[in-house]
């Protein structure tokens, strides 16, 4: 029972951490609160629907391709011309990109919710550390955990990661040392594209459906988790997302059945309480580029 709960809670925490890193990375590097993040998830989810009859790993690869392409194209067309704009302009542009992509999806390929039958192997249950655990929960934990480790390696061990972290902290100083905006900004969008695609693959597997609006909730989770952890710190954002996911799983396990519907009310009340004590988030960074 405890192992089953832990796999579920840590898995959901890892998924939410993945979503929050995507939000915090672009906020740090570009000063962009990207509300179009949900549509990157939508692009990946649509690929999961389109290739639902193909082997699952192939569909995931296609989801990564779709999300990365949408991320890079949106950067090139919408955000690149606004690179020196103030954060409010960038945020409004991201709203426009979000609504445009969602509308296009609704008018063309996703006028209504489409079912994506779960892969048969995902509905199995297996014995894990002596407990009976669903493969879907294990996959969520494994895939998101591997992605988080990958992000940690990229950010901590590679030159690109160091440049990204420096740019997220002080873009002007990083530029004066030779960190190229034309490298770090597209790279951040590619990373965010990959993260959102993996998030989409897991979400589609858990929900069993795809709709034009499906990116909204994970985008909000990303924003809330990042605010909770500290927008100016990638580690903080990951922690915030993880705690949000783990708390969600905890409430689902502990709340009586008739109170489960009010789960988010409990969750966000706790979030407000945390932010009253630490308005800067759990781990605040030192500085954020805001213009």
């Amino acid at each position: 029972m405890i192992i089953e709960f832990l796999v579920n809670a840590v898995g959901l925490g890892a998924l939410y951490a993945l979503l929050t890193i995507g939000v915090a990375l672009l906020f740090g590097v570009l000063g962009l609160m990207n509300f179009a993040y949900g549509e990157l998830i939508l692009a990946g989810a649509f690929a999961m629907y389109l290739f639902r009859d193909q082997p699952w790993p192939f569909a995931v690869l296609m989801a990564i391709l779709f999300s990365v392409v949408v991320a890079v194209v949106s950067e090139r067309l919408a955000f690149h011309p606004l690179r020196d704009a103030d954060p409010v302009t960038l945020m409004i542009a991201s709203f426009a990109v979000s609504l445009a992509l969602q509308s296009v999806a609704r008018m063309t390929v996703l006028p209504r919710t489409k079912g994506v039958p779960p892969e048969s192997f995902l509905s199995h249950r297996i014995e894990f550390l002596g407990a009976d655990v669903s493969v879907l929960d294990l996959l969520t934990l494994g895939l998101c955990g591997v992605m988080l480790l990958g992000v940690a390696w990229l950010m901590g061990r590679t030159s690109l990661g160091i440049q990204l972290r420096a740019a997220a902290e002080d873009f002007r100083m990083a530029s004066s040392l030779g960190v190229k905006a034309n490298l770090v900004i597209p790279a951040a969008f590619v990373i965010v594209g990959v993260l959102s695609a993996v998030g989409a693959a897991v979400l589609v597997a858990r929900q069993g459906s795809v709709s034009a609006e499906m990116g909204l909730q994970p985008m909000l989770i990303g924003v809330i988790g990042a605010v909770l952890g500290g927008m100016s710190s990638l580690k903080g954002a990951a922690l915030g997302g993880f705690l949000l996911g783990a708390a969600t799983a905890l409430l689902e396990s502990l709340l009586p059945t008739d109170l489960i519907a009010f789960r988010d009310a409990f969750l966000f009340s706790a979030l407000i309480a945390v932010l009253v004590v630490r308005p800067q988030g759990l781990l605040s960074g030192t500085k954020v580029r805001v213009s």
Partner: protein
């Protein structure tokens, strides 16, 4: 000349003119200091050299390239800047901060040797190599900022208030490093409020008065013969020892 500034006017936005008609030169291998009180326009001039404040009129050229050229890049021009704020990345370790100084260099083997050279120069950075840069003291952060700037192997090093707010023992250490760099042949523009120490170590100095006008320039002895400079500084630069 490595740096040539001719009758330059710099302004923030459309009205605030922080530098008016400043001219100065820094030759290869020279250590030139820019001294003056708070608000004299010293840091604005440095920002002008970095291309961060637009040139309203006059010209700034680094190794013959105008900073107003669209193609101007401080990296290509070989300019390393140690800003007044030090510009240390607090979320990075000391080692990562240092590696960032050589991010544009392709000669990776030589970079490793140059990092070793800076660790010899600043042993405290070797000691704290894996430590978060935010945990360093002000003096240690300044050493890190200078070491990082030197990893670009610059043709011109801009040091903006490198001793501001530091303990006297660290101020001595920083000036010792500046003197050592001059002896290695580095071209340096040193911006300082500590006029006495700057005059002591510099080949030549420019005394700047708000809004960015040169009150006088030359060696300490030459500046001592300019009454306006003596009056502005409150002492005669001629009484300060010449560089060793």
């Amino acid at each position: 000349m490595v740096l040539r500034i001719e009758d330059v006017h710099l302004q923030y936005g459309s009205s605030v003119r922080a530098v008016q008609g400043c001219s100065l030169e820094v030759g290869e291998g020279e250590l030139v200091s820019l001294i003056g009180q708070n608000g004299a326009g010293k840091s604005t001039l440095v920002k002008g050299i970095m291309g961060e404040v637009p040139v309203a009129s006059g010209s700034i050229t680094v190794n013959g390239v105008s900073v107003s050229d669209k193609s101007y890049s401080t990296i290509r021009a070989g300019v390393s800047h140690v800003p007044e704020s030090r510009g240390i990345f607090a979320s990075l370790t000391v080692g990562e901060n240092l590696r960032l100084g050589a991010v544009t260099r392709k000669d990776k083997a030589q970079v490793a040797a140059d990092i070793e050279r800076e660790l010899e120069r600043f042993p405290v950075l070797r000691k704290y190599w894996s430590r978060g840069a935010s945990l360093l003291s002000g003096g240690e952060q300044q050493q890190l900022a200078i070491a990082r700037a030197l990893l670009l192997n610059p043709k011109l090093l801009l040091l903006d208030e490198p001793t501001l707010g530091l303990a006297p023992i660290i101020v001595d250490l920083i000036f010792d490093v500046v003197v050592a760099l001059r002896e290695e042949g580095m071209t340096i523009l040193l911006v300082e409020q500590n006029a006495v120490r700057s005059l002591e170590v510099s080949d030549r100095s420019y005394v700047l008065q708000a809004p960015g006008r040169v009150l006088g320039s030359g060696t300490a002895a030459e500046l001592g013969r300019i009454p306006a400079v003596v009056d502005y500084l409150g002492f005669s630069p001629a009484e300060v020892g010449a560089p060793q």
